[in-house]
Amino acid sequence: MRFVDEFRDGELGRAVAAQILAAVEPGRHYKVMEVCGGHTHSIYRYGIDDLLPENVELVHGPGCPVCVIPMGRVDDGIAIARQPGVIFTCFGDMLRVPGSHGTLLDAKAEGADIRMVYSPLDALRIARAEPHREVVFFAIGFETTAPSTALTLMRARAEGIRNFSCMCNHVTIVPPLRALLESPDLRLDGFIGPGHVSTVVGARPFEFIPADYGRPVVIAGFEPLDVLQAIHMILRQLAEGRCAVENQYTRVVSYEGNVRALQAMAEVFALRPHFEWRGLGFISQSALRLSDAYAELDAERRFPVPGVRVADPKACQCGEVLKGVIKPWECKVFGTACTPDHAIGTCMVSPEGACAAYYNYGRLTRERVSA
């Protein structure tokens, strides 16, 4: 298939790996963060890190929306789902994220009408089909997913569908990156930028990373050769002593992004003053709520929610994993008390979470290429 086969070519992959090996300075340790959970998944699915020199370390970033949802928001969702007459809809991974008293899946087993949907448009279809029930969509995701929610809400309002509402948990990528760059316990040499978020926001929002922090960013696609080439582009920038935003994913990402998507988001959403991220704490202006124009479709205004902050379980070290401070296997409960079937932490819930990626692909010991 076009854009797939040629980006999985083993010969080319080995050639790029050789270029990477030639670009690194022996004795220097490189830490490169892949921001997006999709890249984490690709890296371990295709064994990309096995092709890298020992002194190139990949650090897994916070770009997995399920992984960064705090427990209190899950509790709020469950509280809405238990309201009489509510059909609560959300994406599949979210069903298994633990709140303080169980998951949405547990609430479903106890009788709440909770349904997995593939898109918010599916949730709207349910609302049309069941006009006497209140249909709530639990919206999560970065800027890739937010346009889908925005268009659905615009459609709901245009059609006058009154039994549909949205509990908005959309987050934005730039504020947590800035928080990570400000973090004293993490030194990063460069970033693999999120490919599909950038389809929407463009390459422009990442300019602050080289401008303010002197680090290179390369926006990358998700096939193995995309990721390898992006790593090479970062190392080449470092070798040449420069830093800039470069775009490896030119077949999809433009500098300006999708302007119509950004306009739709600007109409439907407004920035929350602050939002809690699991492991990263409260980050200013890092999440979206429904704008005042769409307040009548806001589930948090329509239904009572506890809104209580809940601390993470003590055994869980998702926060350190999300900041790249520890590797998943260094967590005390990794693979023992915490597995994909019985996750304690969010990073084990989603296949794109760093812990689940390590667990599913057995990345516990590695032999690496010597520089």
Binding site: H196, T199, N258, N360
Partner: protein, 68 residues
């Protein structure tokens, strides 16, 4: 394409864009097909105009970009 297969991933968390081919247009929605033959109704407001045969990158049933 749908669902949350641990080896394929969830569309939300994975920031996944699925390449699809436009089969036909119905009002402001398009019927699109994946390489694997799955057909979905896709919102095309962000990439219009598209024609049957065009290829688009789709996330959560919304086309985010037209592919070359």
């Amino acid at each position: 394409m749908s669902g949350c297969d641990p080896h394929v991933g969830c569309i939300t968390c994975g920031d996944v864009g699925v390449e699809m081919r436009v089969l036909g247009i119905e009002d402001d929605l398009a019927l699109c097909e994946t390489g694997g033959g799955e057909v979905r109704t896709v919102e095309i407001a962000l990439v219009e105009p598209v024609d049957p045969g065009d290829r688009v990158l789709v996330h959560a049933d919304v086309a985010l970009a037209r592919l070359p």
